[in-house]
């Protein structure tokens, strides 16, 4: 009897010590990530001090980027990054959600499996391959077929004005769209699979058609999860470097037209950092890195707020 209590106590203690170690480890891991992030910010801040001191806020609002004259402004790059990513998500989200719905709700199980495997295959293709395909296949097609059509038929809208070059904001948006679709689709599919069968059956039992069932039970249930998937896709889009660099035309300008070339923040860093010979030039590129971090942070916060709003709303409606 006594022995038995002892054993139990020993077991409990062992459990406790295991808990303690586990807790300690997770704390260490979490803080490691935090420390790496802080170190990165600190390092980038220190390296970008010369540019910060010289240009101040003018760096963020300036449109001129001239390494020879040592005059740097980041606005065209911020513009290019934000617009290309947001437009790519705008196109990719319906495509991805539609694909995920097809896989989980519409397609026969086996066929759905094939489709989702193919979509995941897209995620495994290295971005330089997308870039090469973009510049050698997609850009000429855009230049010869799509863009002339857009500028002739829809040229009265400023968004579709200008000479078709092929490499353009439009090309970057398409490449990014193709690259984020697999991520959003894969996560959305997992989210949709968690929708309780009973809810779906209840909707059907009340006489809902398949579309009504999806609209009333599946989508509302998965709403916050789908939004999370979109945020992850945005992270990928805004940081994508190689493929975008190859198709966007690398021209630091702010143009409303999707047909004109543009430039993004990761692209200018990748392009110019290796050969940035003056101190101010490399410091300006470091500051671009810092701004990229801040822009990503702002977008993430906005997305969190949206997510929070959506889930609160869902909580209110029974």
């Amino acid at each position: 009897m006594l022995q038995e209590t002892d054993t139990r106590r020993w077991q409990i203690e062992k459990k406790l010590s295991g808990d303690f170690v586990f807790k300690g480890l997770t704390v260490v891991f979490a803080f490691t990530i935090l420390a790496i992030l802080l170190l990165m910010v600190e390092e980038m801040h220190r390296e970008s001090l010369p540019a910060l001191a010289k240009f101040g806020w003018r760096f963020v609002t300036g449109r001129e980027w001239d390494a020879v004259q040592s005059s740097f402004g980041a606005l065209p790059f911020i513009w290019g990054s934000v617009i290309s990513s947001v437009l790519a998500l705008f196109l990719a989200t319906p495509l991805s959600v539609g694909t995920a719905l097809f896989i989980t709700e519409i397609a026969p199980q086996r066929f759905g499996g094939v489709v989702s495997a193919l979509v995941e295959l897209l995620a495994a293709i290295p971005s330089v391959i997308y870039g090469l395909w973009g510049v050698l296949v997609m850009a000429p097609w855009l230049q010869q077929s799509v863009e002339p059509f857009l500028s002739e038929r829809l040229g009265f809208i400023p968004v579709f004005q200008g000479t078709p070059y092929g490499v353009s904001m439009l090309a970057a948006v398409f490449i990014l769209m193709i690259m984020v679709v697999p991520i959003i689709t894969a996560i959305t599919r997992e989210v949709l699979l968690t929708v309780p069968q009973s809810q779906k059956e209840a909707a059907v039992a009340l006489g809902a058609t398949r579309w009504e069932m999806i609209r009333m039970t599946v989508l509302p249930y998965g709403r916050s999860g789908i939004l999370g998937a979109v945020i992850l896709g945005l992270g990928r889009a805004i940081g994508e470097t190689m493929a975008v660099t190859m198709v966007i035309g690398n021209t630091p300008q702010i143009s409303l037209s999707l047909l004109s070339p543009a430039y993004t923040m990761p692209s200018v860093i990748a392009n110019e950092f290796a050969e940035a010979s003056s101190k101010l030039h490399s410091s300006a590129l470091m500051e671009i890195g810092l701004i990229l971090l801040v822009v990503t942070l702002i977008i993430n916060i906005l997305a969190r707020l949206l997510l929070w709003g959506v889930s609160r709303q869902r909580g209110r409606t029974p």
Binding site: E64, W65, D66, A67, V68, Q69, L132, V135, L136, A139, P140, Q143, T163, Y165, G166, V167, T245, M246, G249, N250, T251, P261, Y263, S267, A270, N271, E272, F273, A274, E275, A276, S277
Partner: protein
């Protein structure tokens, strides 16, 4: 008993001595970093030189000229390599006297995509500058058409393509444009990356060539070697002396030969727009950067031996890889410079 032990000890000592000597002898590792443009030739040289002196091993990182200059300034490598010579300001930042050693020359060609027009489109250098300034905008502009009487040029806008990444190729090309057009000097200037008045940016030679190949009515610039290997059409340019010169290994070497008369002792000279009947106007040296006073005597000695080999045997391998070898009189000058390296 003692005899045996002492004999064993002697044997052990001998073995140790041999092993130590072997280690000291085994390999001298020489680290270098810099320009990507001469990398194919340098790696050929290093592997050929391994047959001449197996005790030396080279480790060359082709991280770009800017990186090469940074690393040799910080003394993290034994030699640097660059397609652009150091400015006086950059030289001041180095801890010792840094010597420029020209190894070979490269050229930049103007390539284009005009359906039905092969290689050999004739362009005056001033016209190239005006195209890149955005002042000549149509292919059938009389300034281009007058030089090409046999060719029917289309009434199409010229799509200008340039490098988007910082590069020595851009440095040579913008240096050339600055020499041709005062307006270019004033508006843009020269550098590894500049503020282009017009055009699209492609990443690397392959990025520019890709856009030119796949897009009609484009014009771009790439390294001579890259254009030859990929069979891109290239323009014949009218140089400063008024002669039409086709880009080739021979005309590139001719540009350096024309510059011999005013070659500075530190070889910091641009070879663009040299006079001469067959001097191609967009050419330039690529340099190795070595400290005059070597810190490590073993590495210093091996490095000098390699440089001497490169100036004699190595030069002969250049043309096969589409690099222009140094003219003989320049090679003679460089040999003397190499002798000044102390270790």
């Amino acid at each position: 008993m003692f005899g045996k032990l002492s004999r064993l000890l002697t044997a052990l000592t001998l073995v140790t001595a041999v092993v130590t000597a072997g280690a000291a002898n085994a390999e001298t590792l020489i680290n270098g970093a810099g320009a990507t443009f001469p990398y194919p030739l340098y790696s050929k040289w290093f592997s050929e030189y391994a047959k001449v002196d197996p005790s030396v091993k080279f480790n060359y990182q082709s991280i770009g000229s800017g990186g090469g200059i940074k690393q040799i300034t910080a003394q993290t490598v034994d030699f640097g390599a660059s397609d652009a010579f150091l400015s006086d300001e950059q030289l001041k930042a180095t801890p010792g006297k840094l010597i420029h050693i020209p190894t070979v020359m490269g050229a930049v060609v103007v390539t284009y995509n005009l359906p039905g027009v092969g290689k050999g489109l004739k362009l005056k250098v001033e016209d190239v500058a005006d195209i890149y300034l955005g002042k000549i905008t149509k292919w059938n502009d009389p300034r281009i058409a007058d030089d090409n009487p046999g060719i029917k040029l289309p009434n199409q806008p010229i799509i200008v393509v340039h490098r988007s990444d910082g590069s020595g190729t851009t440095n040579i090309f913008t240096d050339f444009l600055s020499g041709v057009s005062p307006e270019w000097t004033k508006k843009v200037g020269k550098g590894t990356s500049v503020k282009w008045p017009v055009g699209l940016g492609g990443k690397g030679n392959e990025g520019v060539a890709g856009q030119v190949k796949t897009t009609q009515y484009t014009i771009g610039y790439v390294e001579l070697a890259y254009a030859f290997e990929n069979k891109l059409p290239y323009a014949t340019l009218k140089n400063k002396s008024g002669h039409w010169v086709e880009p080739s290994i021979k005309t590139t070497t001719a540009a350096a030969a024309a510059a011999v008369k005013h070659m500075p002792a530190d070889y910091r000279i641009s070879l663009v727009n040299q006079p001469g009947n067959d001097a191609y106007p967009i050419a330039g040296f690529t340099w190795l950067l070595v400290y005059e006073q070597q810190k490590n005597p073993v590495i210093g000695k091996k490095l000098v031996e390699f440089l001497n080999w490169e100036l004699k045997k190595g030069q002969k391998m250049a043309s096969a890889l589409l690099y222009a070898p140094l003219p003989e009189n320049v090679a003679k000058m460089v040999e003397k410079t190499v002798k000044s390296i102390k270790y």
